[in-house]
C-alpha cells in the first residue's frame, strides 16, 4: 500500500526527512539491543527511540496534520509528554529488578546494597 497525503512541497520535505530520521534513530536503538554485551549496557539502547526518535516522528505528524487541516494540530504533544515521563519509570524499575536479581544470585560485578 503505497500512498501519501497531498502536501505542498515544503511540507512534504519536512515530513519525509523527519519520518526517515525518527525511524533510523529507533532502528539504531534497536540494533543496540542486539550488539551490546551485558544487560546494563543494553538498557541504555532503547532510550534512543522514545526520546529523539519519537520526537522526530511527532514533528512530522504535527506538520502533516496541521497542513492537511489548515489549523494547528498539536495533540501529538500528549504522546511526547507521556512517553518522556513513562520511559524513565519503566527502565528504572527494570534495571532495579535486574540489580536485585543479580545481588540475589551473587554476581560479582554489581554494587552491594
Amino acid at each position: 500500500m503505497i500512498q501519501a497525503p497531498d502536501l505542498p512541497l515544503w511540507a512534504a520535505i519536512v515530513v519525509g526527512v523527519f519520518v526517515l530520521l525518527g525511524a533510523s534513530i529507533t532502528l539504531i536503538g534497536a540494533l543496540g539491543l542486539l550488539r551490546l554485551n551485558s544487560f546494563y549496557d543494553r538498557v541504555h539502547a532503547p532510550t534512543l527511540g522514545p526520546t529523539l526518535g519519537t520526537a522526530c516522528i511527532l514533528v512530522a505528524s504535527i506538520t502533516c496534520f496541521s497542513v492537511l487541516q489548515s489549523r494547528p494540530v498539536v495533540h501529538e504533544i500528549l504522546i511526547a509528554i507521556f512517553v518522556t515521563v513513562t520511559t524513565p519509570v519503566t527502565l528504572m524499575l527494570l534495571a532495579r529488578a535486574a540489580l536485585y536479581r543479580d545481588r540475589r544470585a551473587g554476581v560479582a560485578d554489581v554494587p552491594k546494597d
Binding site: 534513530i25 539504531i28 536503538g29 541504555h44 522514545p50 529523539l52 500528549l78 527502565l91 534495571a95
Partner: protein, 160 residues
C-alpha cells in the same frame, strides 16, 4: 478558590489534556473544566506534599539544556552502538546529592534516564547518594562534577 482548586497545576494540566484530546468546542471546554476541578479534589484526599515550583529563567535554561543534552547524547550513544570501540568501559557510579524534595529528585530521574548513556538505579535517602549506571565511563569524578554543576543547581533553584 483555594478550596475548589487545591492543586491548580494539576487541574490546569487535566483541562489541557481534555481539550487537546477532544478538540476545541464550547461543550468540551466545560466538561474539561469539570474534570480538572474534580481531579484536583480527588488529589486533595490523597494529600501529597504541596510542590513549590518557581517559574522563571531557571526553568527555561534547564529545558534548553536538557533538549541539547538529549540530542548530543543520542548521537554519542548511536556512535557507540554502530562503531563500538573496544576500549569502552561502562560502570556504576555512587553520586552524593544534596537535593531533598521528592519532586526535584523525580525531575532528576527523568532527565538522567531520558538522556541516553546514563541510567538511574536507586536513591538512598539515609546517606543521600544515588546510584547511576553510565555507558561510556571515562572519568568518574568528571561525571559527578558534570551532574552537580549542570542540573543540581538549576533543580535546587526551581524546586527548593
Amino acid at each position: 478558590m483555594r478550596r475548589l482548586l487545591p492543586y491548580p497545576m494539576l487541574s490546569l494540566a487535566l483541562f489541557g489534556m481534555w481539550v487537546l484530546l477532544t478538540g476545541f468546542s464550547p461543550g468540551h471546554v466545560v466538561v474539561g473544566a469539570l474534570v480538572g476541578v474534580f481531579g484536583g479534589l480527588v488529589m486533595r484526599r490523597l494529600s501529597p506534599e504541596q510542590p513549590r515550583i518557581r517559574f522563571g529563567w531557571a526553568m527555561v535554561k534547564l529545558t534548553a539544556l536538557v533538549v541539547a543534552d538529549i540530542v548530543r547524547s543520542n548521537i554519542a550513544v548511536g556512535r557507540i552502538i554502530l562503531f563500538g570501540r573496544s576500549d569502552r568501559r561502562s560502570g556504576f557510579i555512587q553520586l552524593p546529592i544534596t537535593l531533598h524534595s521528592p519532586y526535584a529528585l523525580a525531575a532528576l530521574v527523568i532527565i538522567l534516564t531520558a538522556t541516553p548513556g546514563t541510567l538511574w538505579l536507586q536513591h538512598d535517602a539515609r546517606s543521600n547518594t544515588i546510584l547511576i549506571h553510565v555507558l561510556d565511563l571515562v572519568d568518574e569524578d568528571q561525571w559527578i562534577e558534570l551532574i552537580k554543576t549542570r542540573y543540581e543547581t538549576l533543580l535546587k533553584e526551581i524546586f527548593e
